[in-house]
């Protein structure tokens, strides 16, 4: 594997035995718990409630069985009780050098994270690390298609990651349109690496093809492409990889993880030996359990479970056994192949235990949309769908019925525009609203299932726009 040949550090980590790796994880967990026992009233109270102290954790099994999980609601309550960072901060407020928030699109509230100078560098490393494994090297020309800056980890981590890499990075996401990005790439004539959401890579690919350019022919020096944030059909991955002529890689990350938690190795997401690739958990920096949410027990090989995350190297607002609600299929190291000691989760199929949908990097909860739509008494019912349009762009459509006599025909465009504006403000996504008669919509007697996600069949490999 090239990344092992290029990095003695990674080669050393890859050569660790399972007991050595577990001992490292346990030592880091113990250090985190001992520090937080002294510095975090939130975690101390949680652990006291569970009757556990850091010195009682003598194995990873102790940690799994005795330390309680925490969740989003716990964090939001903590922030309400101890604003703005909550008692979980774990460092001095004066040492917070970067504030990041979760998207706030759940309708429940935004988690606040205070990161130290140390954390900013770790966050950058935890973005660079998977890209390095995917082929990015110092001096490479790199295109960052993810909007930089703002309040999210996804806005700052990549910029810091490319800076630490020593790459010549173009942070074009959110700044240049797709055609302008292509013009830029053609002007510089050299491209080694791309970081983009799944959906955006599809958009970029289709835009190149519309110009009659096959990216693999134009940029034969490409070393790798890393995608994140959305699932995809494996046929799409195979076809897209062919068009670009380099391995496609995928990372799983989150604000709670302060970057990437798992990533594909040099094999990428397209593998000859299996339908979907495997993302290796970066186990020396994260302790990621995959558990049955009903029993709390670790799932078996090939089974799905909830990812429960512990930061091993983050000091500001660290998460200790955070129940992510992310659903993943887990594989032990020996099944993943390549002789590496790191366990893995299946690429391209990360789901949710709740009904959240990822749309262009934004988290959309149906409840948040319900709250906006049904705040207007004129609305009778709606259904929503997420789909890929003919140009390969992910779109959201609400098919919506207005109550008879509740709104004149003249007033309806203003109603729909007001709804669009509010939905954009709450979810960061523009949604298309189509009026339909109420009779065209299903009747929801019990739990409403208003949403369909058509994307997995929506990316059409090689489809002409």
């Amino acid at each position: 594997m090239d990344f092992l040949r290029s990095s003695p550090l990674l080669a050393g980590l890859a050569a660790m035995s399972q007991p050595e790796l577990q001992a490292l994880q346990l030592a880091k967990i113990r250090a985190q718990m001992e520090r937080l026992w002294q510095t975090s009233p939130f975690y101390r109270a949680k652990w006291q409630q569970a009757g556990v102290t850091p010195d009682q954790i003598r194995s990873l099994d102790d940690f799994r069985k005795r330390v309680p999980t925490v969740n989003k609601q716990d964090f939001l309550q903590d922030q309400t009780d101890h604003p703005p960072f909550g008692g979980r901060l774990g460092i001095r407020r004066e040492d917070v050098a970067l504030v990041t928030l979760t998207g706030g699109t759940s309708g429940q509230g935004q988690e606040v994270y205070g990161r130290s100078q140390h954390d900013i560098a770790i966050q950058g490393h935890m973005h660079y690390l998977p890209w390095f494994m995917a082929g990015l090297r110092p001096g490479h020309m790199a295109l960052n298609c993810v909007p930089a800056g703002g309040m999210t980890t996804g806005g700052w981590g990549p910029a810091e990651g490319f800076r630490l890499a020593g790459a010549t990075a173009f942070h074009a996401g959110g700044t240049l349109g797709t055609e302008a990005k292509i013009d830029l790439l053609l002007r510089f004539n050299e491209l080694h690496f791309i970081y983009a959401s799944t959906n955006y890579l599809h958009t970029l690919t289709q835009a190149f093809l519309r110009r009659g350019i096959v990216p693999a022919e134009r940029f034969p020096m490409l070393a790798g492409i890393q995608i994140a944030a959305e699932g995809y059909p494996s046929e799409w991955a195979r076809d897209t990889q062919k068009l670009w002529g380099c391995a496609l890689h995928e990372g799983y990350g989150s604000t709670q993880g302060a970057g990437f938690i798992a990533t594909t190795c040099d094999q990428g997401i397209v593998r000859e030996d299996r339908d979907r690739g495997i993302m290796r958990i970066l186990e020396w920096m994260n302790y990621a359990e995959v558990i049955d949410p009903d029993t709390g027990n670790p799932v078996g090989p090939g089974e799905e479970g909830e990812i429960v995350l512990t930061n091993l190297d983050i000091e500001g607002s660290p998460v200790i056994r955070f129940a992510t609600r992310d659903k993943a299929r887990w594989f032990p190291a020996e099944v993943c192949g390549g002789g590496l000691p790191w366990a893995g989760i299946e690429a391209g199929s990360i789901g949710r235990y709740d009904d959240m949908m990822k749309v262009r990097g934004n988290n959309i909860w149906p409840l948040a949309v319900d709250t906006v739509v049904f705040a207007r008494p004129e609305v009778a019912e709606y259904v929503g769908r997420v789909y890929v349009d003919a140009e390969g762009k992910t779109e959201v459509e609400l098919r919506l019925a207005v109550k008879p006599d509740a709104c004149t025909a003249e007033a309806r465009p203003a109603l729909f525009e007001a709804l669009r504006e509010t939905l954009k403000a709450r979810t960061n996504v523009w949604m298309k609203i189509t009026e339909v008669p109420l009779t065209e919509l299903p009747q929801f007697t019990y739990k409403a299932r208003r949403w369909t996600d058509e994307r997995k069949s929506g990316y059409r490999p090689g489809a002409a726009p």
Binding site: F3, S6, S7, L9, L129, F132, P138, R163, A167
Partner: protein, 79 residues
């Protein structure tokens, strides 16, 4: 610690960090360049004042004939 001590310490760190630039670990080499760049930038910032320039001229002839700060003569710099 006074300014001269801080500068001397940074110079020492600069020399030590420069040795990391020869690392054969490609994962770390960009990060070592980043570290070295942080140190040289701090030296540049600290030596931007007229007093520091005087200090440097008086004490550091072997290394520089002028300030070690950024060369604003290139036309690149804050507008």
């Amino acid at each position: 610690m006074n300014r001269e001590d801080e500068l001397a310490l940074l110079r020492d760190l600069q020399d030590r960090a420069a040795r990391l630039l020869d690392s054969r670990d490609a994962l770390m080499s960009g990060q070592y360049h980043h570290l070295h760049g942080r140190i040289t930038s701090l030296i540049a910032i600290l030596t931007s004042t007229p007093q520091e320039r005087t200090f440097l001229r008086e004490n550091d002839h072997a290394e520089t004939d002028g300030p070690r700060g950024p060369d604003h003569g290139s036309g690149v710099g804050p507008g």
